[in-house]
């Protein structure tokens, strides 16, 4: 769980609450994976027990996103299914955000939460096609790319505001956290990490 309350300096309440909610969501049953399966994927992403195609994919995406190619995603999807692969992308991506938040602040990564009981909910969006990417998704920008699994997509979008900006804040070039960083400073970090990750989107 999140150790942000133990940081050397005060962390915003919305960030602490977001981290707690996000870790809990990783441990909960998803649309196509149980809580136990989701925690196993998160553990694989961090480097333990990477046996199996989906766990290998989780580790690859977590540790070296720039080298993930269409063939890796398709192999995972052929082996496990599109919903399971999309769900894995969401789990790994959100865990990467949480882990980076902690490490930049010098807070130890704690153990992952205990998996919540229950089977996958089966809530999968219908009618989506693999039209312009590696997985089925609706037309639109990056916030809709995980919409095949609505639970995962919602958990993903819920992190934007505390971590970066809400959609409304993004429209205001004078947005600033006071005290804190303003839009050009936030965009400097966004652009530089994307450059190092070789992510051109």
């Amino acid at each position: 769980m999140s150790g942000l309350v133990n940081a050397q300096f005060r962390v915003r309440d919305d960030l602490i609450e977001m981290a707690e909610r996000s870790f809990a969501a990783i441990a909960a049953p998803g649309g196509s994976l149980s809580g136990e399966e989701r925690i196993a994927l998160a553990e694989a992403a961090r480097g333990s027990d990477v046996n199996g195609r989906l766990r290998e994919f989780a580790r690859h995406l977590y540790s070296s996103p720039a080298t993930v190619a269409c063939e890796h995603v398709r192999q995972a999807a052929n082996d496990a299914g599109d919903p399971q692969t999309v769900e894995t992308i969401g789990i790994v991506a959100r865990l990467s955000a949480l882990d980076r938040l902690h490490t930049v602040l010098g807070v130890d990564l704690g153990p992952l939460p205990t998996a919540q009981p229950g089977l996958a909910t089966g809530e999968i969006a219908r009618g989506l096609k693999r039209r312009r990417g590696h997985v089925p998704m609706p037309p639109g920008p990056i916030p809709v790319t995980l919409d095949l699994v609505p639970f995962e997509a919602g958990a993903f979008r819920a992190m934007f505001g505390p971590l970066y900006m809400t959609e409304e804040q993004m429209g205001d070039p004078l947005f600033a956290r006071d005290p804190g960083l303003n839009t050009p400073q936030l965009e400097t970090i966004a652009a530089r990490i994307s450059m190092l990750n070789e992510c051109f989107y």
Partner: protein, 120 residues
């Protein structure tokens, strides 16, 4: 990255900063935002540095911009670790018209050859 390099230039102009977008590709060049060298240095040292470099990078932000800014930096850093993985995992692509529109920025950032290879 395109959209955020573009947003940096757009918001920086409104703040009347002297933005040098090439600083995103070359950390020796100051991007032109307050604390910009420290912010870029934080990203680089967290990705590539050892434990000493990481602590020095945190200290640079704390000294220059304050603890609230380090928290904001950590948060936005995390957000784009997430976004980059969603982009790579799902395979969402940059629209051809964006590549065309941002040809000058691609050249400034030294991306032209890389982008060609990505789409070949």
């Amino acid at each position: 990255m395109f959209s955020h390099a573009w947003r940096l230039r757009w918001s920086g102009e409104i703040h009347e900063y002297d933005i040098r977008i090439e600083g995103i590709a070359d950390p020796a060049i100051d991007v032109g935002v307050p604390g910009g060298m420290a912010l870029v240095g934080l990203v680089d040292d967290m990705v590539k540095g050892d434990i000493t470099a990481r602590q020095q990078a945190r200290d640079a932000i704390l000294n220059e911009l304050g603890p609230e800014s380090l928290v904001d930096a950590a948060a936005v850093f995390g957000n784009f670790e997430m976004m980059n993985r969603v982009a790579e995992g799902t395979g969402i692509t940059v629209a051809p018209q964006v590549l065309e529109r941002e040809a000058e920025m691609m050249k400034t950032l030294g991306l032209r050859d890389t982008m060609k290879s990505q789409h070949s």
